[in-house]
Amino acid sequence: MHHTGFESAQGVWWKPAHKSEKIWVAIAFAWCMVLFAMMPLWHLRGGQNPSGIRARVEPVAFQDRVNEFVAEYGVTDANGSQVLENGIPVVQPPPGSDVYMMGRMWAWTPVLFLEKNAQYTLHLSSFDVNHGFNLYPFNVNFQVVPGYDYGLRVTPTQEGEFRIVCNEFCGIGHHLMIGRIFVEDTGLPAPGSEGGAQ
């Protein structure tokens, strides 16, 4: 019997659904399966996945790694001393290397010089609270959590000036927290657009 949603359902109400209802449920179900399948599929065929190498790390230990990284690949001037930009060391790691980047109220350390189309393992972590890694202007975002090392295999596919905007609220200086990445085109060939990424 016809009734509204606020009247008690009387008698046998588990009767078969309307045909149009069945059609819609079947289509919606099929679409949900497409939505689901796209994610594993992109892991196989797509180039952008948030997988990374993930590990726990004490903030102090991560800071030590950043310092070692700066010592190893830091850019030096004619006198052999580390080049600083706004007080932050500038580092030029070779293609294929592990790169360490730390968020700390309210700066990203270090400044990076990378090569276009080279792959790096970019380790992100925080010294204090949560920060957010947002690559300007290409809008790539990752959460930076203290106590965790997020090692993302990154291949810059465009050259030029990039910024890292902090996009997780991290206290009163949050909106001032900006880092810098410079990508130079050294003529490396573009990575195959298919496969490779996990």
Binding site: Q48, S51, F142, Y150, E168
Partner: protein, 580 residues
């Protein structure tokens, strides 16, 4: 109190002159108390919204940085936690005792729950306004607020848990005392769904706020990643309470405004059950670009077990308009595909609110939500303005709009008052949902350029490096502000209308509804639900696609929009740096 009141059957009640339901006097009072506090929170949250909005509009940039983050905390807590949950408690008391024709089983306990919620809320307000909790409503550890902030949240949650438990007890009492026949109404069933989810949610709440409180007084450690995991078990599951409650209100408003029928109880109820089944997985889509979890975990959980909750929403998104179409057709509005829509009562704020709630929730909130909650697409959405753009379309133009719409029926039915400024009330849904639609779409587009959410100054004055967004962003932020101001005007009208109606409104004498056509919504006059033929017969349809052809067309338009937006985002993602 009007109607043939009395203490018959042991409890003081009145007989609702419109529906014939026996309404417990205490249920009336409890609903009223919860609704009043909900409105106060809405007012505080609304004022905060305007201040935050005018700050994000870079051309105005109203607040300084300290007050921006402080007021943003105030906005999030008052809207998402206090306003919505107080309102939901009122709905539970309505869907339980009132719809089931039953008494409130534990009156004192329910008042105690209410009291705890109010005390908790006051503690949180005090901490926020005095600058002792500048941590935003997510309060991610190790950002730290003063201990009374966490304690306030705990008290509030315990209070809500008590009221939810009383609702569950009502079901038992009503069954035992045989206050209704057959199965509980679908709306109550939706309420039960919301209540079950609420219990699961509040358990997550206890699991995170108690350790965090202990951490804040220095006796325990809390891992920041575990915090995010469990906190979102609360934070997102609570959104599923909102969805379930909103869908229940959809069915309610459909029946009240156009005599919408339930097409098939089995289908609608199964869809509600799907919401419950996978609710604890909800946390995952906030953690898609977090370091603590692997791809398999992310995929499995963000999809809530292969998108079964999305399926549920797509089912309701069909059955609600289909029930409306069928109800209209049964009452003789059979012309063409969309005659039922053209002849619908667009001047009834309950009806227009319902239509906006369903369409904006589905077309904007739903589509963006599923898209951004895709493991990889989240890389180009996380923590950008796309996120608040998305959820203002779900929880604001969806849930809040539906709650506002049902208020226009609750005021005459429960409060027995005519609606003050009824002409304003008629345009209120258009302003609120229309403004929110503009607001959320503009915000979502601005987020596509990577503009961060929760950010005081996207011109980055005084920062170490320059960042300059495309000029389109300035325009989009201005449109966001204008849409938001229009919505805020709609919100202001809602508060004005409800407060004046309830406290200073003219009474609505029983049985004389017809005299007050200019101050109560049309559904109470024409009572469309009473005109549906009590048969099994279906309206004739010249179309092969069954008795609801108009709805079929609408849902296919929806599906096309969904597919387009979804794959456009994969395309957009493929331009980003390679990362894996």
């Amino acid at each position: 109190m009007t109607g043939d009141g009395g203490v018959v059957g042991r409890w003081a009640h009145r007989i609702c002159p419109t529906t014939g339901l026996k309404v417990h006097t205490q249920a009336d009072r409890l609903i009223r108390a919860h609704a009043v506090v909900a409105t106060v929170s809405l007012l505080i949250g609304g004022i905060a919204a305007i201040l935050v909005l005018l700050t994000r509009w870079q051309a105005v940039h109203l607040l300084d940085a300290v007050w921006f983050y402080r007021i943003l905390t105030v906005h999030g807590m008052n809207m998402l936690i206090f306003f919505i949950i107080f309102f939901e408690m009122a709905i539970l008391i309505f869907a339980g005792p009132v719809l089931l024709n039953c008494r409130v089983p534990a009156v004192k306990t329910t008042w105690a729950g209410f009291g705890l919620m109010v005390v908790g809320m006051l503690m949180v307000e005090w901490m926020m306004w005095t600058g002792q909790a500048d941590v935003l409503f997510t309060s991610y550890v190790p950002l730290r607020a003063e201990p009374p902030f966490y304690l306030g949240v705990i008290l509030f949650a315990v209070g809500a848990l008590i009221t939810t438990a009383v609702f569950m007890a009502t079901l038992v009492v009503a069954k035992r005392e045989k206050t209704y026949e057959g199965s509980v109404p679908l709306v109550t069933y939706g309420g039960i769904t919301a209540a079950i989810i609420a219990i699961i949610t509040l358990v997550h709440g206890a699991a995170i706020y108690i350790p965090t409180f202990l951490w804040s007084i220095g006796v325990m450690n809390v891992d920041p990643q575990i915090y995010r995991l469990v906190w979102w078990g609360l934070g997102h599951s609570s959104q599923q309470i909102n969805v379930a409650a909103m869908v229940a209100v959809w069915y309610m408003l459909g029946g009240l405004t156009v005599g919408a029928v339930v097409l098939n109880e089995k289908v609608s109820r199964t869809a509600f059950v799907l919401y419950i089944g996978f609710i604890s997985m909800a946390s995952a889509h906030h953690l898609l670009v977090d370091p603590g979890f692997g791809p398999a975990w992310k995929i499995w959980n963000t999809s809530y077990f292969m998108y079964m909750a999305v399926l549920a929403s797509m089912v309701h998104g069909f059955t609600v308009p289909a029930g409306m179409e069928m109800g209209m057709r049964l009452r003789g509005f059979t012309q063409g595909l969309f005659g039922w829509l053209r002849k619908a009562p667009w001047g009834d704020p309950g009806f227009s609110a319902l239509v906006f709630s369903v369409t904006v929730f589905g077309f904007v909130g739903g589509i963006t939500g599923v898209t951004f909650g895709t493991e990889q697409i989240n890389i180009i959405a996380h923590n950008t303005l796309r996120i608040p753009g998305h959820f203002h379309a779900t929880v604001v133009s969806g849930t809040a709009m539906a709650f506002m719409g049902v208020t226009y029926y609750v005021i005459p039915l429960i409060f027995r008052k005519r609606i003050a400024f009824f002409k304003l009330a008629k345009i209120q849904p258009y302003l609120f949902a229309g403004g929110m639609l503009v607001f959320s779409m503009a915000m979502t587009f601005a987020g596509t350029f990577g503009v961060p959410r929760r950010h005081w100054d996207v011109t980055f004055q005084g920062a170490a490096y320059t960042v300059e967004y495309s000029p389109a962003v300035d325009l989009l932020l201005a449109i966001t502000a204008i849409g938001g101001l229009i919505a805020a005007l709609g919100g202001g009208i809602y508060i004005l209308v409800t407060v004046v109606s309830v406290f200073f409104g003219k009474p609505l004498p029983a049985g004389r509804e017809a005299e007050f056509a200019d101050s109560i919504p049309q559904g109470l006059l024409s009572q469309p639900w009473a005109q549906i033929p009590k048969t099994e017969e279906e309206p004739e349809s010249p179309w092969k696609i069954g008795p609801v052809p108009g709805t079929m067309v609408l849902v296919f338009i929806f599906l096309a929009a969904f597919i387009t937006y979804y794959f456009a985002n994969w395309k957009l993602l493929s331009f980003a740096w390679k990362v894996g």
